[in-house]
């Protein structure tokens, strides 16, 4: 290796995977991305909120799959040939979780230098402000860089699933 590891890491930190969801382009830091899978229907888990599509078999482990559109409070988009599952590793309080997210299509891996990233606007974005890590300028357009630990926050999603299971209990007046 001729490139010092430190440099390489910095280089990685500015790399983002862009993908399409509905009509918008989003980006995720590639360091949190483990792999990208072709979409295959996940096994549904009963009594779960809409944003949880189910679980898939990732080499012997049951990995939950989150529908990102539903997570953003939008209607789910139909599955096409380009639909993918991006496998992401999040780390919250030293506990790491592997979660898949469904996206309409993945585009490319880009380098966005820090100078080209604007802070998130207080309002006006199409998704919750705390989900946004920053606005990256790519070829004159903005892409929303997602804060993966907020979007896929286990604690928050766990609470939402409880609300859903609570509703599913019949006559729980």
């Amino acid at each position: 290796m001729t490139i010092p590891a430190d440099n390489e890491r910095r280089h990685d930190q500015n790399q983002y995977l862009t993908f399409v969801l509905g009509r918008e382009t989003f980006a995720l830091g590639i360091l949190s991305i483990k792999e990208i899978l072709e979409y295959s229907a996940p096994t549904e888990i009963p009594m779960m909120p809409a944003f949880i599509r189910g679980v898939v078999n990732l080499r012997g482990a049951a990995v939950p799959v989150v529908d990102l559109s539903a997570r953003f409070g939008r209607p789910s988009t139909p599955v096409t040939k380009k639909t993918c599952v991006v496998i992401i590793e999040t780390t919250v309080a030293e506990e790491s979780h592997i979660i898949g997210v469904v996206v309409d299509a993945v585009n490319e891996v880009l380098e966005i230098p820090d100078t080209e990233i604007e802070p998130a606007p207080g309002f006006g974005a199409s998704i919750r402000a705390d989900f946004i890590q920053g606005m990256g300028k790519v070829r004159g357009k903005f892409v929303i860089i997602l804060d993966v630990n907020r979007v896929l926050c286990i604690d928050e999603m766990e609470m939402l699933t409880q609300a859903a299971t609570g509703d599913a209990v019949p006559s729980a007046a």
């Binding site: 096994t43 009963p46 009594m47 949880i52 939950p64 979780h97 699933t161 299971t165 209990v169 019949p170």
Partner: protein, 662 residues
Amino acid sequence: MTDTALPTFIAESRELLAEMEVALLECEQGNAGPEAVNAIFRAAHTIKGSSGLFGLDGIVAFTHVVESVLDRVRAAALPMDRALAAILLECRDHIERLVGVVADGKADDGDLIAAGERLLQKLNMHTGGSSASAANTDVVATAAYAAAPGERWHISVMFHTEVLRNGMDPLSFIRYLSTLGEITHLQLNTERLPSPEDFDAEACYLGFEIELASQEGRQRIEGAFEFVREDCTLQIRSKAQAAYEATAGREAETRDARSARDIKSADNRSLRVDGDKLDKLIDLIGELVTAGAATTITARKAGLSELNESTLRLARLVEEVRDQALKLRMVQIGPTFSRFQRVVRDVAREIGKEIRLEIGGAETELDKTLIESITDPLTHLVRNAIDHGIETADVRRARGKGAEGVVRLEAYHDSGSVVIEVADDGGGLKRERILAKAIERGLITDGSSLTDSQVFALIFEPGFSTAEQVTNLSGRGVGMDVVKRNVNALRGTVELDSKEGEGTTVRIRLPLTLAIIDGFLVGVGGSSFVIPLELVEECVELGDEHRSTDGEQRYINLRGAVLPFIRLREMFAIRSTAARRESIVVIRCAGQRFGIVVDELLGELQTVIKPLSRLFSRIRGIGGSTILGTGQLALILDVPSLLDLCLSSSQAPVAPRIALAD
């Protein structure tokens, strides 16, 4: 400390301390023979010896005093009575704390040393001064240890027989050594000493094992023996190295000693294996089981009878390997139960009750991870039984019971699961008091229609406690719901039986293992579910008459008995139209029989349980997932919680809060 042998020392010491505790408790109850005293002595002796090797002088000094007292007991110079056993128990605890300090890698702390000295004084007062002198010399020795700086060396020197004839005096070398540092320990090696007939007065038969604390380097120490270099076998090792070799040797040695003394039966040979390695093996076997199932399916499709046969043979072997591998993780529950002797003794003393712990089914085996996770809930239940269950001696006598209360721990296997019971012969639960409390807490509105078991189930609700006084031990109402939650997390259930005035029994039912189950695969719509096979009694077809009255009548007549059923499609809100035919899987679980209506019966399979993400931790009715031979995922039904879900929703009008609570 970076010593590689240290963890072995710590693990070994803890085991010995556990043995010591059991034996001491026996002594305290007055039903111990000389064997118990020997066991205690051996434990103390070995701990002292090993700590010496690591230069853990605090432990050596303390344990030495305890050991000398024990030696007198062994020689029948001192009686082993209750009071002595109680003090020795405290001493044992102190050694455990000392070992704990070493394990945490902390420096000796002053409080602990002071506590140790107080304990030794107490011991001396009890046993009469003679061991006091021993204690004092040891304190001096410890001080000397501390004063001698520098590295510790272990010197092993064996003088050749000719050394005296060559005009050398072995003693002078040792004298010279003491100018290089402090000789902290010296042992004579007399193994070459011949019988008196063969003894040659001019020959030297002696060797020395010397421990030296010195700032000098290896060369200077070696230099001390320069004049006898030709006439002796010399080994100089720094202490850390010596300790490592010695523990390895000691393990073999103690094993030899044990078999020689026929303390343990000869076949009691065990191997210490890293738990992670075992987990990895079990994981791999899990994969093997899944891959095997896939091969069987493919072979069946191929329709080659020879291939079919060989896959069947293979499957049988895999099954055996799996069973054996799982057995590796199985440990007896006995040691866990024995630990409660101490809990019962201490707690009973604290609150002034006379209580005896009885143990049954100590040889019952269950998965090690289960044992680890069940200890906390058990502790809670045992404390509860002592504190709330058993009455004081006066009340017991007034009720015509023996003054001594009994807490009983029992374990046994029952249809594919393990049952652990915590029973007491105390006052039992008072139905009226529980109802009053539940109404006060707003858990229910009216309890008149509830059965006893439903009433007792209320005490597992969060924030429920009927203890009139909050004691140090329990009664703050944070207990039983935590027990229930912990047990549920292990895929287990808790039941409670109680008769007022006669006692209470809490029954914990747990799966045998957390890794693999035999399952029965069923299909509903496009989804597959696995039902644990040991719960399945039979399968029957759901008649058309029950299908038309959907939503009205939720039971069938199964050979004259009422069989209530649930529809998985409705429970899980599966979006698909009902199949043309439906079947009922008849389930027996926790003493109840009920049916689960499914579309398809897909047969038996062995499955590896894959835990679901924490995301699904709140889900009810599903215990995990598994990968089918086809690579598809199927969900494993958690039947007890499914049943709970049905029961609570059918009680909803009476007890609306229960339906919501977990």
